[in-house]
């Protein structure tokens, strides 16, 4: 075993870097967790059974579950509720949910160590802690009933929110026990065995969807307050630029425009409605000082990253003697690259702020409610407890809402506005002032022996988002960003001689952040594309080539075999059609996908079908998992076919959906998802579909045309033969 082995576990990395104090918070009663989350002066004082920060049961049996993870479409409110209700034996019909307030002590994600929703780990991180919290709560309810009856708690059972004593035929509802059950729960309550699960594993209806089909759901952008004003902003189009001169004489003539706010790097127009704000902004004559980045363009970005990738990087994983193996035999080399991407959540960035002397109240949908609170406190010069954040359901997150910038900008505007103000970004502002998925450049080299890989070298070059976003996890891991090398250091294939290196290279000017699929998007695209090129060199079928090196990864082998079988791998296809395969272990899920594409002579790619098989451990809500894979693969297909942000003169060139294209329904493939039954702990699923789609589509194009694309999105000129790859 290599000395570097522990780096393969991000949980270990984070725990060693940051400690694990979160565990202690679980049994502090809920009342202690009540940082203000209701509108000021209206904070209800909860009563009844409050065993911990996640569960409240009132006298009527109404069971309120507090969600430490945010709902952005992935269905986590339902699956987390299922986990809690399962071990609590709650009455599912009486369950309702509420968003956790900002509180790192109670609600820090156990895998991320901060209160955040990301990295496909909501279920993985909370699976055991929430089961224990709920089982401990159940034990308190049983103890209270047993005491009332004067019987042994062991002789009592629970189901659907009721404690029963079969021998005497007595029963008490959880509601009836709510006032007598509070106490200290047992440290290690017994957990159910999977055969006793009555909720987990069933495709229960989602709790959050009924209000999303009739317009009732209130996203951040929908918040309305008495006296609310509406604002929209223009930040410096050039990264790092400043406001020069502003002529607002035309803007102020527009009916409904109330105010023009000039800050050093952005301009806001405040009005009676968004139309006034938007028309006012359009009517401003702004001269910008372009600042130090006015010369930056995409060519410079690629020049710098390619140059950086030529030097050795930090060694993230080493097995055997890669140099020796690569020095003997026919070395095959390839470089792969991925572009900047914007998130383009359907709900544009927005935040509503009410700043009063000594306090600040915010409404928005965010993946980092506590960080928003603490960041805003600094900007507004307020104690943290004076900042109230009302987290709304998110109209898409995808990593974009792991940043607090939309709240910071809104508060800076609100500092100049009397009363509450809703700051809404136009789509153009949203696309041009994103925090972008970094560009990546991957160098791969390999040698083959007896039809298998003998030597392997993978050097990943790219921005380190973790170094900025969670510095202790970066410095605590010898300055290796676990995300940049995720799915590269834990490549599933048995390769005797391997070295994975990482070169940190921050692009000029362009801010970088997490984007659905994160590090594995890049690594799996590079590795799986290279695997197909190696298979061709070895004269092997791509599935057989992979199978031979997966004998020690049976869960992935099973997924690969199932995907290949269901997709009709090996069948004869019409001319210009191709099947491409991809397989990986990412986010603790084992997934294989076969894409069926058709490439038109003029270079357009038609996606016919994506067939995927996944072993993601215990499927808490199987229908949600299927939905996440369907949606994730569409997200990945969008990136494969269309996604690219380019820079010219220090600014983003794309601006809206006409030039930053999304896949549409007429371009969407049929998608078949096959879940493999498993008793293993749950894996992550929110991003897995994205990562698996990219190389499967690329490899299907390779099969259809023989053209080995080395970058995405696809280049239609290359596929049409108008240009070389």
């Amino acid at each position: 075993m290599s000395a570097l082995e522990p780096r393969t576990s991000r949980r270990t990395i984070l725990k060693s870097a940051l400690g694990s104090g979160f565990v202690l918070a679980f049994h502090v009663p809920f009342a202690g967790a009540q940082t203000p989350n209701a509108p000021m002066g209206e904070a209800p004082v909860p009563t009844g059974f409050m065993p911990n920060a996640f569960i409240r049961i009132d006298g009527a049996g109404k069971t309120t579950l507090v969600m430490p993870q945010v709902e952005m479409g992935q269905g986590v409110y339902t699956s987390i509720s299922m986990i809690l209700a399962e071990e609590l034996d709650a009455d599912w019909s009486k369950v309702s949910v509420e968003a956790a307030p900002p509180n790192e002590k109670f609600y820090a994600n156990p895998m991320l160590t901060v209160q955040a929703t990301g990295n496909s780990n909501s279920i993985r991180a909370w699976w055991m802690p929430l089961r224990k919290a709920a089982a401990g709560s159940r034990a308190l309810l049983v103890a209270a009933a047993a005491k009332q009856w004067g019987v042994d708690p062991e002789s009592c059972t629970t189901a659907n929110g009721v404690v029963m004593h079969k021998a005497s035929g007595r029963s008490l509802s959880y509601g009836a026990l709510a006032d007598s059950a509070n106490g200290t729960p047992p440290a290690n309550p017994p957990l159910k065995t999977p055969k006793d699960f009555r909720l987990i594993g069933k495709p229960l209806k989602r709790l959050d969807t009924p209000t999303k089909v009739d317009g009732r759901e209130v996203y951040g952008i929908d918040v309305m307050l008495p006296g609310l004003k509406f604002a929209t902003i223009a930040a410096s189009p050039t990264f790092g630029g400043k406001v020069g001169h502003v002529d607002d004489s035309d803007a102020k003539k527009i009916p409904g425009v109330r105010q023009v706010v000039l800050l050093d790097d952005l301009v806001a127009v405040v009005g009676d409605h968004m139309w006034a704000a938007k028309s006012g902004l359009d009517a401003l004559n702004i001269t910008w000082n372009r600042g130090p980045n006015g010369h930056v363009d995409t060519a410079q970005v690629w020049r710098e990253i390619k140059e950086a990738s030529e030097k050795p990087g930090l060694v993230a994983k080493k097995t055997g003697d890669a140099d020796k193996a690569l020095g003997s035999g026919d070395k095959i080399e390839a470089q792969y690259e991925l572009p900047f991407l914007a998130h383009a959540t359907m709900e544009p960035m927005n935040c509503t702020v009410h700043l009063t002397p000594g306090a600040c109240e915010l409404w928005l949908g965010t993946q980092i409610v506590a960080r928003v609170q603490s960041t805003v406190a600094k900007v507004a010069g307020l104690p943290v407890e004076k900042v109230t954040v009302h987290n709304q359901l998110l109209g898409g997150g995808f990593g974009r809402r792991l940043e607090p910038d939309m709240a910071v900008k809104a508060v800076r505007v609100a500092q100049h506005v009397d009363g509450p103000v809703k700051v809404v970004w136009t789509r153009e502002e949203d696309i041009q002032h994103d925090i972008y998925r970094p560009v990546y450049y991957d160098r791969l080299a390999a040698t083959l022996k007896d039809g298998k890989i003998d030597g392997w070298h993978h050097r990943v070059t790219g921005s380190s988002v973790v170094a900025r976003w969670l510095p202790p996890a970066f410095t605590g891991n010898h300055n290796i960003d676990f995300d940049t090398v995720d799915s590269a250091i834990d490549i599933p294939y048995a390769i005797p001689n391997l070295r994975v290196e990482v070169v940190r290279c921050e692009p000029p000017a362009v801010p970088t952040g997490f984007w659905r699929g994160v590090g594995p998007n890049n690594n799996v695209f590079a590795i799986e594309s290279f695997m197909d090129e190696l298979a061709k060199k070895a004269g092997k079928d791509p599935v057989e080539f992979r199978r031979a090196m997966l004998t020690k990864t049976p869960r992935l082998l099973a997924a690969l075999d199932l995907a290949a079988e269901k997709a009709g791998w090996g069948s004869t296809l019409p001319r210009r059609h191709g099947l491409g395969v991809s397989c990986q272990v990412s986010f603790a899920s084992f997934i294989a996908t076969v894409a069926h594409v058709e490439v038109a002579p003029e270079g357009e790619v038609k996606l016919h079908r994506l067939t995927t098989a996944v072993d993601t451990g215990i499927a808490v809500n199987p229908d949600t998992i299927i939905a996440q894979l369907q949606g994730g693969m569409i997200f990945g297909a969008t990136a494969a076919l269309w996604g690219e942000i380019t820079i010219d003169k220090g600014r983003v060139q794309q601006s809206n959906f006409h030039d930053y294209r999304m896949l549409r329904i007429n371009e969407a493939p049929a998608i078949d998802v096959h879940l493999i039954k498993s008793g293993e702990s749950p894996g992550g699923i929110g991003e897995t579909g994205v990562t698996t789609a990219l190389p499967a589509i690329r490899n299907a194009i390779y099969a259809a045309t023989g053209i080995a694309l080395r970058r995405l999105p696809i280049d239609r000129d290359v596929l049409a033969g108008r240009k070389h790859a």
Binding site: G73, D214, G395, F635, L663
Partner: protein, 150 residues
């Protein structure tokens, strides 16, 4: 003041005639079910019906509507096709983040009202103007077919 007939009710708004209906609905009437997505009729999140036809409200001047009937997501459940679509959407769990779904449901309802048994091509033509970033297209297609059978 501009008079509008929305979901069968008479409303009036103090709006300049060039204001798109989207903002009158959202910011003046507080009917926030209709969503802002792009502002240039590229994404369909703002889709409403004018006399039963799907229209992108982000580019429709409020002064141009006159006495034509406006239907929004808040009122679409009162129509037979709208109720079927909403039910199919929940039965098949189409929705993820849900932000685009008001527009998707409005487009799907207009499709079913004019083409009770749409085939895949009809669905593509009617729904291609509605972007879903969560990628719920597979289920949208299935749900439209299910609603057509209901």
């Amino acid at each position: 003041m501009i008079s509008l007939r929305i979901n069968g009710e008479d409303k009036s708004v103090d709006a300049p005639p060039d204001m798109p209906l989207l903002w009158a609905l959202r910011d003046l009437l507080g009917m926030t079910g209709t969503k802002f997505g792009c502002g240039i009729a590229q994404c369909g999140a703002c889709t409403v019906h004018i006399d039963g036809k799907p229209v992108r409200s982000c580019l429709l001047p409020v002064g141009s509507i006159g006495n034509r009937a406006i239907t929004t997501i808040e009122g679409i459940g009162a129509t037979p096709a709208g109720a079927k679509v909403q039910k199919a959407w929940l039965d098949l769990e189409v929705v993820q983040c849900g932000y685009c779904q008001s527009g998707q449901i409005m487009s799907a309802t207009a499709l079913l009202a004019s083409t009770p048994h749409p085939d895949d091509e009809d669905i593509d033509a009617a729904m291609a103007g509605n972007i879903c970033r969560c990628g719920t297209y597979v289920r949208i297609r299935d749900a439209i077919k299910r609603a057509a059978k209901a």
